[in-house]
Symmetry: C2
Subunit: 339 residues, 2 copies
């Protein structure tokens, strides 16, 4: 609690912001938000209660912004991007609801997790409902190609979550194995969210591939920074407790690195805490000391910068313009964010 690790060693640009992107998609995002409220509605009152608890709790809506921005940048003029953006946000929300059940989390975005308020049952079922609504809305858009991309993502995300479950207790997970998990569980939705823009705009293979690559690498960078923040932010700013991953025995990149670089004694410590579930008072502070000593947080941020750079290069062929600049700044924001 309250342990703070400075990320100052990384070349963060604290001025990078998500605001230019927010401004560009603001009008469309209002329509997305209205659609979200409508599609989370149901005569079954528990559904809007649970859904709105999470939807209104102030996520950044980064994923639907990617869909809106990529469609706008590709000159799309219909309203399909608004529906697809809503579907993307519902897929994300459904994942969060199910994740909280799987992880037995108590907190989410600084509030009690829905499962603590309404029970695991409601979290599972309202997640299923939102996923159903997401597909229903995608079908309305009528693009089989976009449907293919998003339904692929839905299966891959779940596969990634199971992969993580299976790997969760193995401290000897390699960096590559860990990357495969986050490519699936996080980057797949970023990728799909960005790719469906050029798809509904009918812009062809090269643009689709460019946005897919942008989304994938942004998603990986985003998750790696999330992992670093879980050991590095202050509890209040993070919106959840520092050390959640540690307490849940999750193996993330900082741990993968610290374990590999550590002494036998270090490795015994990580095994006891994460593999055998034997963490006690004071172990989190020691874990953070070890991560710092092995420069594991710094390396995680460096790795994130690598994927962030790939995301930026994916967009290099596009002409300069406000959308391109905003999307590049989002990469920098994600990599530099410390809230």
């Amino acid at each position: 609690m309250g342990v703070v690790v400075s990320l100052e060693d990384s070349k963060k640009r604290p001025d990078a912001s998500v605001e230019p992107l927010v401004a560009l998609v603001a009008a469309d995002m209002e329509r997305v938000n209205a659609l979200i409220l409508g599609k989370a509605g149901s005569d079954v009152t528990m559904i809007p209660e649970v859904a709105n608890h999470l939807i209104s709790s102030g996520g950044k809506r980064l994923r639907p912004m990617l869909t809106l921005a990529s469609a706008q940048m590709c000159g799309y003029e219909g309203d399909g991007h608004v529906k697809l953006a809503m579907a993307v946000e519902f897929m994300h929300t459904a994942t969060l609801l199910h994740d909280d059940v799987v992880d037995e989390s108590d907190m989410r975005r600084g509030r009690l997790a829905a499962r603590k308020l309404w029970g695991n049952q409601a979290s599972v079922l309202v997640g299923d409902f939102l996923l159903g609504q997401a597909f229903r809305t995608m079908v309305e858009v009528g693009s089989l190609q976009a449907l293919g991309i998003l339904s692929d993502a839905a299966a891959v995300i779940a596969e990634g979550e199971v992969m993580q479950l299976a790997a969760a207790k193995n401290v000897a997970t390699t960096e590559d194995e860990y990357l495969a998990v986050i490519r699936a569980k996080t980057a797949a939705l970023f990728s799909a969210a960005a790719e469906v823009g050029p798809i509904i705009a009918g812009r062809g293979r090269d643009e689709e591939a460019a946005f897919r690559s942008y989304g994938t690498n942004l998603g990986i960078a985003f998750q790696l920074i999330d992992d670093a923040l879980d050991y590095g932010g202050s509890s209040a700013a993070l919106g959840k407790n520092v050390g959640d991953d540690f307490r849940e025995g999750k193996i993330t990149l900082p741990v993968v690195l610290a374990y590999r670089r550590g002494s036998d004694e270090d490795r015994a410590f990580w095994k006891r805490c994460l593999q055998d579930g034997g963490a006690v008072e004071g172990d989190l502070a020691r874990a953070i000391d070890l991560l710092r000593g092995r420069r594991a947080i710094e390396t995680t941020v460096e790795r994130a910068r690598h994927y962030g750079a790939m995301a930026c290069d994916a967009l290099a062929p596009f002409k300069d313009g406000p959308h391109k600049r905003a999307l590049l700044e989002v990469v920098e924001f994600c990599v530099s964010r410390v809230h």
Copy 2:
């Protein structure tokens, strides 16, 4: 345990069988089964383990048979019906996996529930994976109309499950309220499964509506008999313990009827057992006595016959033939089944 209630008062035809339908769709069902095995596969070994545990445990595959039979009966000649049938079965399997978590069930189809073997987490996530695979496969078929029907069903099923969760502890639930729940949680998938056959065969509104109505009413009848069986079969034959609904405090039609028809003392009993969770040893036997005394099981079976008759009439305009006869016999089988 082992309490047996005879259903002999109902006009059951014990010779009605699902076998004619099984024979008609046997060749296609082999292709469905092969596809199921393929699509439940994953390098993440926990996924096929969990999925196959449930898939191989001998469900009747009634829902995918409806898709195959309705497509065949409408003269469809492609292979889309095989893919849609697989998707329907995956949607059903995903629901079972999530239901077991929601209901905290120990048994499913006479075997330990997946959640008891692999944990709630795996059940939630493998369910999500199967749902993703279902949508992926539907998209391959390329019919936006079929996608619309099945994604509607996915949202409605989840809505019905939440409705049931909210109503679960209210013994004063009306028969109408209960019907709304099972229309959503059970009949919606039967309906969609039957309707997508004429849709991909391009047979037009009337055939679609006929199969939709057939599926809906068959689904309602099927669920009502399931509810009756939960208080009436023998434990071994049922594949799950008699009285599961009672122990889980589920309000089903037999209870709705017995509560309304009962004395004040009866109602206090149902409240204590189902609403306040205060059931003790011997209460199940008393519950079954009360259900018999109020003819609640018999009425439930009569109600099922009503919906079964509607299902049969929905197919009345079709010319006689082996498919029509087999589908009508399935209705009789579902209503008469006592396993």
